[in-house]
């Protein structure tokens, strides 16, 4: 099988920039063509900002790595022009089973909330995910968008200045220099840029190893997520089975700390383990095997002048709950509209500090959640093991214990409570749409709400008057007028009105609520726009 992660997707090509005597100045340079770097580049290019992506490699993610992509990143990907391709290819699942020891303790249906265009999440190999992003880059290039990926361009040094960043790059043909007004560092968990800036950080290392194997199976396994605590085939450890597209299954086996990694990875050692788990007669082929450990940590600050960190370079979590790539895309979604306004001179540079405030809040929430999952899956003391096992035993009989079972919590976007960009909540409306919240989707008579919000400032009015457009100091805000009469499922009322008869929302380009009131008040909304763009 010719695997897509073994084929160069952005092979090295000589750039005219390499022949210039003086370094060429670029608007934005993104370092790293992983999910986060590609997301950032597409976002900026769609807004007309010139962007060059540098990557030391020329292929998509080796092996699968991330497989679960949640609703919020899918909604972001819709705005980046590749959500549909991902959903079409991905596997949607709702059923799960939990096993403890040698028995199933319960099964569940996630029963995702209705009235959203996108599913709660999909399973998709990271290499497909990245391939769709690269395809989107190619499509934008054909439309003449200012975006470029340079494969086998490894950043070896950076210099920071008040007005720009200097970048030294190694290529197969030797090194060259570039300058950038802004640099977005998306160079992953082992970020060399972090080290170059002397901002390396320590965190909590979880003393554990996990073996991940992606296997191609003919078997008729149902499309479900199976999680085992302390199964006979992996005593005192956990195991996970999850379906991906193309008949590929993700198997995740916890191995413990004192192991010989090279030995465990050998097919002659992996295959017997998998046979114990899947049954002797199940036919399968190993696509990819790897062993990983993980850390939970973040940088103290994500913005360092003109160098801004995003994704795994800025923060890392354990994989339980699928928060890595999912939260990385929320980083760039938060950053890119702000950077565009700053580049265009429509907002002060200090607007970028709100990226720090908001995404550090997000990273802390993710670290907290994934640490809790890890502590449940791998109890750290005798008593935590006792309580964990008690929860699992009870979950077999009593429903109440099931919410305590924590094999990873679904990644949901964080609400930027307390953000400097929020205006005080002036609507007696639902808590889920208070200022700082990500906008929940709503089915309208004709399509869904989120695509209509798009990626610009919106004044959403529900049974309230307002001008069709306001401009405040260079920021254009377009009205989207809705009515509770066009609310076939009553989701608009439930999610945006509550008991209020009318509402006006100021919504940011990343579809977070900045302000809301029962009716339009010009001077208050102008103030809210200034606040949402870092002007007060």
């Amino acid at each position: 099988m010719n695997k897509i992660f073994e084929t160069p997707m952005y092979a090295y090509r000589h750039s005219p920039d390499q022949d210039e005597a003086a370094p060429v100045r670029r608007k934005v340079v993104v370092v790293g063509a992983g999910p986060v770097g590609l997301g950032a580049a597409i976002d900026l290019a769609q807004q007309g900002v010139e962007v060059v992506v540098l990557d030391d490699n020329d292929k998509v993610s080796f092996g699968s790595r991330a497989i679960c992509f949640a609703k919020r990143p899918l909604e972001i990907l819709d705005r980046l022009g590749c959500g549909q391709a991902m959903v079409d290819k991905g596997v949607v699942w709702n059923q799960g089973r939990v096993f403890f020891d040698d028995r199933q303790v319960y099964e569940f249906n996630l029963l995702p909330e209705k009235g959203h265009q996108r599913p709660a999440f999909i399973n998709l190999q990271q290499y497909y995910f990245e391939q769709f992003l690269v395809n989107r880059v190619r499509e934008l290039q054909q439309q003449g968008a200012p975006i470029e990926i340079r494969g086998r361009n490894k950043v070896s040094a950076v210099g920071t200045h008040d007005t720009h960043v200097t970048i030294e790059i190694d290529t197969p043909e030797g090194s060259y220099n570039l300058e950038a007004d802004w640099l977005i560092a998306c160079d992953g968990a082992n970020s060399s840029l972090r080290a170059m800036l002397g901002k390396d950080f320590v965190g909590r290392v979880f003393e554990d190893n996990f073996l991940i194997a992606d296997v191609v199976m003919e078997a008729d396994f149902p499309t479900e997520r199976w999680f085992w605590f302390d199964p006979p085939f992996n005593r005192d450890q956990s195991a996970l089975l999850h379906k991906q597209p193309d008949g590929v299954w993700r198997i995740d086996l916890q191995l413990g700390w004192d192991i010989d990694k090279e030995r465990e990875k050998k097919p002659e050692n992996v295959i017997p383990r998998l046979k114990q788990m899947l049954g002797e007669d199940v036919e399968f082929e190993l696509e990819w095997v790897s062993i990983y450990t993980f850390q939970c940590r973040r940088m103290e600050q994500f913005r360092h002048g003109r160098v801004i960190f995003a994704g795994d370079a800025a923060h890392q979590v354990s994989p339980f709950g699928a928060r890595g790539a999912n939260s990385g895309l929320q980083d760039t979604d938060n950053l890119c509209w702000k950077l565009k306004l700053v580049i265009d001179g429509k907002a002060p540079e200090s607007l970028l500090d709100s990226y720090d405030a908001e995404r550090i809040h997000g990273a802390d929430e993710n670290i907290l959640n994934s640490t809790r999952s890890t502590d449940f899956i791998t109890p750290k003391s005798h008593m935590s093991r006792l309580l964990r096992d008690a929860v699992l035993d009870l979950s077999e009989r009593y429903e109440f214990a099931r919410p305590l079972v924590n094999s990873g919590r679904l990644s949901v976007p964080c609400t930027y409570d307390g953000s400097p960009l929020n205006s005080a909540d002036a609507l007696d409306g639902p808590s889920r749409t208070r200022p700082g919240s990500p906008c929940p989707d709503v089915p309208l008579q004709d399509g869904y709400l989120l695509p209509r919000l798009g990626g610009r400032f919106i004044l959403l009015t529900i049974d309230a008057d307002a001008p069709d457009m306001i401009e405040e100091d260079g920021i254009e805000v377009t009205r989207l007028a809705l009515s509770a009469r066009d609310d076939p499922t009553l989701a608009l009322k439930a999610r945006y009105l509550g008991d209020a008869p009318s509402a006006v929302y100021l919504i940011r380009p990343d579809q977070h609520v900045a302000a809301r009131r029962p009716s339009f008040d010009e001077s208050l909304f102008r103030a809210a726009i200034r606040r949402a763009t870092g002007k007060e």
């Binding site: 006792l386 929860v391 009870l394 009593y398 109440f400 305590l404």
Partner: protein, 69 residues
């Protein structure tokens, strides 16, 4: 706000205490520990109220009463 009850509240306290002991009687140490863990979780769910649960944790840690609120 409801408060954790720390005054006598069980009818037939001696009978309850005897029930608690007899539930453990035939159990070895590991089974007794597991029993206790399940019991705590069942009672905690029944209480439900997070403030009362927080006060219970503090009370069990034998913290001075004024620090428990």
């Amino acid at each position: 706000m409801s408060d954790l009850i720390l005054t006598p509240n069980i009818d037939g306290a001696d009978d309850f205490y005897a029930d608690l002991l007899s539930a453990h009687e035939s159990l070895d140490k590991a089974a007794s520990d597991a029993f206790n863990a399940r019991l705590i979780l069942i009672l905690a769910n029944h209480i439900g109220n997070r403030a009362v649960l927080a006060q219970s944790l503090a009370a069990a840690a034998l913290q001075p009463e004024e620090e428990m609120k």
